[in-house]
């Protein structure tokens, strides 16, 4: 009979584990490890039998419930094998200055763990052939080597030196960084110096006991979120309940099982990581809310203010100032788009240089910067965090914002230079423009473009109204008419005008009025 892979592996493991247990017993004093290994062998034997029994009826399809139970039954001995191998390994690893023999056993345990893992994989593959099989569940045992993520800072507090030592060695094996304290006072001081990721806290201690230390940790704002696992004898049930009520995250009975210690430590750390991530998300949400607030508190009122501004030079200047205040920019230049699509600077303000040209008249000597031109051509914002140009007047950071209204038509470009932190001693040092404010700034640019379009329309309407307004000063007109008409020449001309017009038809050569009258062209150009 050809044995299937899981059965062969189980057999091999059983044989090798028994051999190892025998070797341990022979060397003496390793009863605990040998007993653990015997349990591994027993589990391997049980698994082999179960698999054989299953294989006999493999052709029958199982219903889902039966399949689930069968899988559970088969996985349980694998978990036991892995668990007891780990215990044996940990016990051997605790041996101070191990000899060649011990090291050889540890190597063999390592190999056996690898075989158990192979067995698990083979078992899962075999079970997948069954009816109603679902994707294989995660490994029932932890992978070999160091367990958990490691790398956390753990503070272990216990008045017993041996306990502190054990905790240290265990947790260091898990890859954590350990600090120990023999009492509550020292623990609190150390925690306040550098907040740890986790505290293991003995309940019964002279001086500040575990309960009081816990209470003080939880009432310290900076430490309240550090998880605390209480260590106590099982007879301290009442104390444990009090501790859990006071904010302890978990409890480990003493003397602790290394596997339980590891599991609870990792679980507490994982919860803390999740909590931290949640707080991070919360911070991101708050940042998003701040951006929304920037819209509501600044962009919207400023947009309304721009929309209400009817005076063109004031509007142009306000567009620059509103954006400068919003970004903390040192400089701001507003270009308007000419009819031929080129840019014309109309406002330039650079606070650090005391420059303020904001009459709204074209600034002829100011050619548009490359960033402004690019923003105009592409229709997209141009952000330069560091130009790398160290010359005196050159800006370090630039944000060029195309001003496009609701019709998407480009009205101009607003270029902001040298954002500043605006706080403390470095207030004047240029920094990059805040990318988080980009969206709000672009919205502001759109509102500015709308205000510009509206202003241009209004100016054109005003011009039309002015064109239509015909005002005549009647007094002045009467005086001027009098100057022209109140003389003999005019009177004569008037008397004969009709006859003059008629004369051309019939009687050319008739005398004209005021024959011989000469005129000089001196009075008469009229007002210019």
């Amino acid at each position: 009979m050809i044995r299937s892979a899981p059965e062969q592996l189980a057999r091999e493991i059983e044989v090798r584990v028994r051999a190892l247990a025998t070797a341990l017993r022979k060397s003496g004093g390793r009863e605990q490890s040998a007993a653990d290994l015997a349990k591994v062998a027993a589990a391997a034997s049980r698994l082999g039998e179960m698999w054989q029994a299953r294989a006999g009826g493999a052709s029958e399809a199982l219903d889902e419930e039966a399949a689930r139970k069968a899988r559970h039954d088969l996985r349980t001995p694998v978990s036991h094998m892995m668990g007891y191998l780990e215990l044996a390994e940990e016990t051997l690893q605790e041996i101070q200055s191990p000899g060649v023999e011990v090291k050889a056993w540890l190597v063999e345990i390592g190999r056996l763990r690898a075989r158990v893992d192979e067995l698990r994989v083979a078992l899962e593959a075999g079970m997948r052939a069954w009816a109603h099989e679902r994707p294989s569940s995660p490994p029932a045992s932890r992978p070999p080597g160091r367990r958990g993520r490691g790398g956390a800072r753990v503070l272990a507090v216990d008045d017993d030196g041996e306990n502190r030592n054990l905790l240290r060695r265990h947790l260091e094996r898990q890859g954590h960084e350990i600090e120990t304290a023999e009492g509550g006072e020292l623990a609190l001081r150390l925690a306040r110096e550098t907040p740890p990721d986790l505290v293991l806290l003995d309940v019964m201690m002279p001086g500040l006991d575990g309960y009081e230390t816990l209470r003080r940790l939880k009432s310290d704002e900076r430490l309240a979120r550090v998880p605390v696992i209480m260590l106590s004898g099982l007879d301290h049930a009442e104390t444990i309940v009090r501790c859990l009520e006071a904010g302890a995250d978990d409890h480990i009975p003493k003397p602790f099982e290394p596997a339980i210690l590891s599991a609870r430590v990792e679980s507490a750390l994982e919860r803390k990581r999740l909590g931290d991530r949640e707080r991070e998300h919360l911070a991101q949400l708050l940042a998003a809310k701040r951006r929304a607030d920037a819209f509501i508190d600044y962009v919207v009122p400023m947009g309304a203010r721009l929309a209400a501004q009817t005076d063109t030079p004031t509007l142009l200047r306000e567009i620059v100032e509103v954006a400068r205040r919003f970004t903390g920019a040192d400089g701001g230049t507003l270009y308007l788009r000419r009819e031929d699509a080129s840019l014309q600077a109309v406002v330039q303000v650079v606070e650090s240089r005391g420059l303020d040209r904001s009459s709204g008249d074209p600034i002829e000597d100011l050619a548009p910067s490359p960033s402004a031109q690019l923003a105009a051509r592409s229709g997209r914002s141009q952000r330069i965090d560091d130009t790398g140009d160290a010359s005196v007047d050159a800006p370090r950071s630039i944000f060029a914002l195309p001003l496009r209204g609701v019709d998407d038509e480009l009205r101009g470009v607003l270029e902001l230079t040298d954002a500043r932190a605006g706080e403390g001693a470095d207030a004047a040092t240029p920094v990059a423009f805040d990318p988080a404010r980009e969206t709000a700034l672009e919205a502001l640019g759109r509102l500015a473009a709308v205000a510009l379009a509206r202003n241009a329309h209004e100016q054109s309407l005003r011009r039309r109204i002015a064109d239509l307004e015909v005002q005549i000063d009647e007094g002045a007109r009467a005086r001027e008419v009098a100057v022209i008409t109140d003389n003999d020449y005019f009177r004569e001309l008037r008397a004969k005008a009709t006859r003059l017009r008629a004369r051309g038809r019939s009687q050319p050569g008739q005398p004209s009025p005021s024959a011989g009258a000469k005129t000089k062209d001196e009075v008469d150009d009229g007002p210019r």
Binding site: A476, R477, V481, G504, T519, K520
Partner: protein
């Protein structure tokens, strides 16, 4: 054939496009087959001959020569229609002023006999058998412009839409009414492109209680071309050319009724 219709083109200030409008209206009428004369009486700053491409160095006589009695008025008339591309029966005669600075200075200093001008205009109409005689006047009001206005059958008052022109046009209009000019038309030139032209036309007509013959928008393209020639001959399909055409047709209609 009846007596020619005298059309004086006047504006209170310079720069309204007076010479240009005169040249265009005269050309439109000539193109319709009319015999048209244009007298440049703007002796201080003559310019209309440039539009018709007439080089004064090649002209023997000018209006100034006639006023000084050095020639007959018809000797100072030059046919410029053919060279401008006007075909058929239409004729376009220009009586230029003088371009010689010395002559201009002298006649402005000594003045001239306005009666002789009046006589000259009449001889011209008879000898050239004109249907229309345009007088391109000097801006402002002096004895010579008053005479031009007094003898006119139609006075075309040009103005730009600004307060100074509105005021000055009011003065000229009142004077022309005192002289009982039969037809007084206003023509608004160089209206800003943003303007609502029909509203402007209505407003001007209402203010002066006068007919507005046309409202012409300010046009850069026209200004460039207009200095080189007669715009409505160069760009006959342009809206501004069509406006001139329409005014010319209305003048022709009046002439035939007269």
């Amino acid at each position: 054939m009846g007596r020619a219709e005298i059309v004086s083109v006047h504006s209170f200030r310079g720069g309204t496009g007076k010479s240009n409008s005169t040249a265009n209206l005269a050309a439109c009428l000539a193109r319709m087959g009319k015999r048209v004369g244009v007298v440049d009486t703007d002796i201080a700053s003559p310019g209309i001959h440039v539009l018709f491409g007439l080089d004064l160095n090649e002209t023997e006589h000018t209006l100034v020569d006639y006023l000084w009695g050095r020639c007959e008025i018809a000797q100072a008339a030059y046919e410029v229609g053919a060279r401008a591309g006007i075909e058929g029966e239409g004729r376009l005669y220009l009586i230029p002023s003088s371009m010689r600075t010395s002559a201009i200075t002298q006649i402005l200093r000594e003045g001239y006999d306005v009666v002789r001008l009046d006589d000259g205009l009449r001889s011209l109409m008879d000898e050239l058998e004109l249907d229309f005689l345009f007088i391109d006047t000097h801006p402002g009001v002096n004895e010579e412009t008053l005479l031009s206005i007094a003898v006119s059958d139609t006075l075309l008052l040009l103005l730009r839409p600004d307060q100074q022109d509105y005021q000055g046009t009011g003065v000229t209009l009142e004077v022309a009414r005192m002289l009982e000019v039969p037809r007084i038309w206003l023509m608004v030139n160089k209206a800003p492109r943003s303007s609502d032209l029909s509203a402007l036309r209505a407003r001007v007509a209402e203010t002066y209680a006068a007919e507005v013959a046309a409202v012409l928008p300010h046009d850069e393209g026209m200004l460039t071309l207009a200095s080189a020639g007669v715009f409505c001959l160069l760009q006959p399909e342009h809206p501004i050319s069509r406006s001139f055409d329409e005014v010319a047709r209305r003048l022709a209609k009046r002439e035939s009724q007269a």
